[in-house]
């Protein structure tokens, strides 16, 4: 019986591997397409594609991460409050599922922090106090889980940069964080082609803008 189930298990994996395009290849091509995305429509198509891969691969956190990221970017881009809320809900749903797969992945907590920042944008007066704490908590946790990950440092720096000086934000306060992030970006090597590897250029741009003339 045991051997039988083993054979079956092998057969099933074999079948899946054969019938489905390879996971890495699918992710690679979805990422490449996302890289070419021009319009909001393209982004939506990309997000939906990652969502489908996530649905088909319940053990992989990467597709959920990317679909969450794209929905979050859409939430930042759109101006309509109802639509914003919709994208935030989509992003949150995807990250919730991914965090169920693993809660030890620095990138996922970084993304959760980014979603909280989008929530602040929804209604700064009412959400500001609560969600800025939540976002910075996520970045703190992401840094703890992987001190070499530049993205939580960069996003935290960005949020400090966008905080008014009276609240302890501004260029001077953001500078050390962005410098640290830039240093981490220089040495960062993604685990493979399909692992997160974004933010380097933006970080350098922001850093340049922050540096005193």
């Amino acid at each position: 019986m045991k051997t039988m189930s083993l054979i079956l298990a092998l057969a099933v994996t074999g079948t899946l591997a054969w019938s489905q395009p390879n996971f890495e290849a699918a992710m690679g091509s979805a990422l490449a397409d996302f890289g070419k995305a021009q319009s909001l429509e393209d982004m939506k198509t990309s997000a939906a594609r990652f969502e489908r891969i996530a649905a088909a691969e319940p053990e992989e956190w990467l597709p959920g991460y990317y679909s969450s990221m794209i929905y979050c970017l859409l939430a930042f881009k759109t101006m309509d409050v109802k639509e914003k809320q919709n994208y935030i809900d989509l992003a949150q749903k995807q990250i919730d599922a991914a965090l169920k797969i693993t809660d030890k992945e620095s990138e996922l907590h970084t993304m959760q922090g980014m979603i909280y920042q989008a929530v602040i944008g929804l209604d700064p007066m009412n959400n500001g106090a609560l969600y800025s704490g939540k976002a910075s908590g996520c970045f703190g946790l992401a840094r703890k889980l992987d001190p070499k990950n530049p993205r939580p440092v960069y996003l935290e720096g960005l949020s400090v940069l966008n905080t008014p000086e009276q609240f302890g934000g501004g260029k001077t306060a953001a500078l050390p964080l962005l410098e640290k992030a830039a240093g981490l970006f220089k040495n960062f090597e993604p685990k493979s082609e399909i692992y997160p590897n974004w933010g380097k250029e933006d970080c350098e741009k922001q850093l340049l803008a922050c540096k005193p003339e």
Partner: protein, 710 residues
């Protein structure tokens, strides 16, 4: 087994199968096209999204058991098993809205606040920053409709029920001494800081079968899961200081805090009539720990300790005692565990212990009260299907109360005690009859060993959604409560006091506005009655009292109309009479004010990063018994007005996020007379003399600086 192999072989042929095409349109139940719905074959990466007119064309490799999936946020996912040889028919796919904001929810008597609930009525930060509450949870609750704060005790009175009829829970576990211990006529505060919680459920009646032993109201304080962020916090106030640290990890978190309060500077600044021998001071320490276990398990443990002392000279007041000293120690420990069992079951277990030791010195006599309670509960929730969920569980509640009065003059002491074990079990089902009608039916059985009594209390509530954002709710239930230990210590020959609630509620909720109107009728039976004793405090204690309370509560909250401003207004009217305690006949009790009106206004002043809050509260006169008048409880106090305000200035100190907080209660220093205390014997002319029970502090000022260090 053969079948499975066959399936495997078939599925291995997927690649060899032909391409297939499905065309269609995705729309909601009103025929409005849904743009961006994800359309795909289950388990496959390939798919498409619907266009702006809802149309889609899905090109896929046909298999044997293909399932078409159409998903869209906020809507139920559509699934359809496709036949092997697909015809090219055009599919009209109608998605049904997920029950969410538009869901029909039972709301009679219920106020819920939290981060996740969309129809947020109040969140904990709003509670903490409500002026005149000074960060006291119960103080802030007095701005809810149906709630009246008893100025002289600090306790809350809900809909004509006395303070002991309200119970406080933390994550489902009973807090048997929720108020701090204070001197007679000085207001108590809640023991817990509102910042400990991320949600509040407050029910002013008609609550679920999960809760028992409360005749009037249930307050459920919900603590957060894993804390948000690692930080160190420092607070310095004119009344004390605190230091705390929170550490967050991916699967666990802890938070710890010590605080010391001394009211000396406070009394120095405020006008008052108190002659302290020892100004109140307290030392507290808290520890909270959370850990995730396995995939879905979660354990929360909270420990809250507090130690306080004070001594007061009472010789100026109409009192037989000159000096009162008070020492109190309180320890609350609770642990909760919850875990999902599969997709449809959830178990919860908890245990909580509360030790409260109160030692009073009454001149040379001594009075000690020790209360120990242990509460344990276990519950299961099951989701049978979309329209039926149920909860069931059991609780054991142990109470040990020890009382001792030591008479110095006669060198004698009078110890008394109560040992009670209370068992209870509940079962409750939530049924969605239609999209617009929800029904909750439940019951609760309770048995107590001390008075050896058993009771079953049925509960029914329902909600009917009239339009998108408005609904009616109705609740009915019977509620039983064991008599207070102060009576039980004299006799076990008592039965449960009971109340029956009828509540009708209407509410209309939009994203940023809430309007609620609620009317209720409550009857009371078996209330405790006694005769004032000669040797003992109470004599002939029995359950021969009864009464009623009826009224209407209105609530309006708006955070939309004015920019950067949010305000809410509550009004309550209550008409209540009862025969209880030593009342000769049914009268309106001394704690009931017929009209209560309150206004809370918060304004964010952008230019100076300051949140300002103003509160106004009006309480109509309360009855009191004037022995110079022929009728019992026939005199009435003057009404009370209170205007309070606070400012929270947000800034940074050395780059750390800092809040500077100033709060002033009773800005105009108006007199607040809550009641009168009469001398027990008349003077030569046969007149009884009175001294007012009033607010001991005319105006109070609190100033604090709170810094978060990351």
């Amino acid at each position: 087994m053969k079948k499975l192999l066959y399936l495997l072989i078939i599925s291995a042929q997927i690649n060899l199968s032909a391409q297939n095409i499905i065309k269609g349109r995705v729309e909601d139940h009103e025929g409005i096209p849904l743009t961006g719905a994800n359309v795909y074959i289950q388990g496959s990466y390939e798919g498409t999204i619907s266009d702006t007119a809802g149309f889609f064309v899905l090109d896929y490799k046909a298999g044997d058991s293909d399932i078409l999936v159409v998903s869209y946020i906020g809507f139920e996912t559509y699934k359809e098993k496709l036949a092997q040889n697909q015809d090219q028919i055009f599919r009209k796919i109608i998605l049904h809205e997920n029950a969410r904001l538009e869901e029909v929810v039972i709301t009679a008597g219920m106020f819920e606040a939290g981060e996740k609930s969309r129809a947020v009525l109040l969140n904990p930060i709003e509670i903490a920053t409500t002026a005149s509450s000074n960060g006291d949870v119960f103080g802030a609750l007095s701005f809810f409709p149906g709630v009246q704060k008893q100025g002289e005790s600090g306790e809350i009175i809900v809909r004509g029920g006395d303070a002991s009829e309200s119970k406080t829970y933390m994550d489902g576990m009973l807090v048997s001494s929720p108020y701090s211990s204070t001197m007679p006529d000085l207001p108590a505060r809640g023991r817990f800081s509102p910042f400990m919680f991320n949600g509040v459920m407050f029910s002013t009646g008609g609550y679920s079968a999960e809760y028992g032993q409360a005749l009037s109201s249930v307050l459920e304080l919900k603590t957060p899961g894993l804390f948000d962020e690692s930080l160190t916090s420092v607070g310095i106030m004119n009344v004390g200081a605190s230091l705390g640290h929170t550490e967050r990890n991916s699967r666990s978190a802890y938070s710890t805090e010590i605080n010391y309060n001394n009211l000396y500077p406070y009394f120095l600044m405020a006008k008052h009539e108190l002659d302290w021998i020892k100004v109140p001071q307290s030392l507290g320490a808290n520890f909270y720990y959370r850990v995730k276990t396995g995939k879905t398990g979660f354990l929360k443990t909270d420990i809250v300790y507090n130690n306080s002392s004070s001594k007061l000279d009472y010789s100026n007041f109409e009192s037989t005692i000159n000096k009162i000293g008070l020492k109190n120690q309180n320890l609350f420990i609770k642990s909760n565990y919850s875990q999902e069992l599969g997709d449809n079951w959830m178990i919860k277990a908890g245990i909580a212990g509360n030790v409260d030791s109160d030692k009073k010195e009454l001149d040379l006599d001594k009075l000690s009260e020790n209360l120990f309670t242990l509460h344990s509960r276990f519950g299961i929730a099951g989701f049978i299907n979309k329209s039926l969920t149920f909860k069931t569980g059991g609780e054991v509640y142990m109470l040990s109360y020890k009382f001792k009065y030591s008479d110095f003059e006669n060198n004698e002491s009078y110890p008394m005690e109560v040992q009670d074990l209370l068992y209870s079990g509940y079962l409750e089902g939530d049924i969605k009859m239609t999209k617009n009608i929800a029904l909750r039916v439940g019951g609760r059985a309770e048995h107590t060993t001390y008075t050896s009594e058993s009771k079953v209390s049925p509960r029914v509530s329902m909600a009917y959604k009239t339009r998108d954002k408005s609904q009616f709710s109705f609740a009915w239930g019977k509620y039983y409560q064991q008599a207070q230990p102060e009576y039980l210590k004299y006799t076990s020959d008592l039965t449960f006091e009971n109340a029956e609630h009828f509540i009708l509620n209407y509410q209309i909720v939009s994203e940023n506005r809430v309007f609620r109107a609620e009317t209720y009728y409550k009857t009371y039976n078996n209330l405790i009655t006694y005769d004032p004793g000669v040797y003992e405090e109470f004599e002939n204690i029995s359950n021969t009292g009864d009464g009623y309370a009826k009224g209407i509560d209105l609530f309006w909250k708006d955070s939309e109309t004015f920019k950067n401003m949010n305000y809410w207004i509550s009004y309550s009217f209550v008409d209540s009479k009862r025969k209880y305690k030593n009342y000769p006949y049914a009268v309106t009790p001394e704690f009931v004010a017929r009209h209560n009106l309150s206004l809370v206004l918060k304004y964010w002043i952008e230019t100076i990063q300051t949140q300002a809050c103003l509160t106004y509260n009006y309480t109509s006169g309360r009855p009191y018994n004037n022995p110079n008048l022929p009728d019992y409880m026939s005199d009435k106090t003057k009404s009370i007005h209170d205007l309070s305000g606070n400012l929270s200035y947000i800034t940074n100190i050395f780059g750390y996020f800092t809040v500077v907080h100033l709060s002033v209660s009773n800005i105009f220093g108006l007199d607040k007379i809550y009641s009168y205390r009469y001398s027990s014997v008349p003077d030569d002319q046969g007149i009884y003399h009175a001294s007012p029970i009033k607010s001991m502090m005319q105006r109070s000022i609190i100033l604090g600086v709170f810094i978060s260090i990351k």
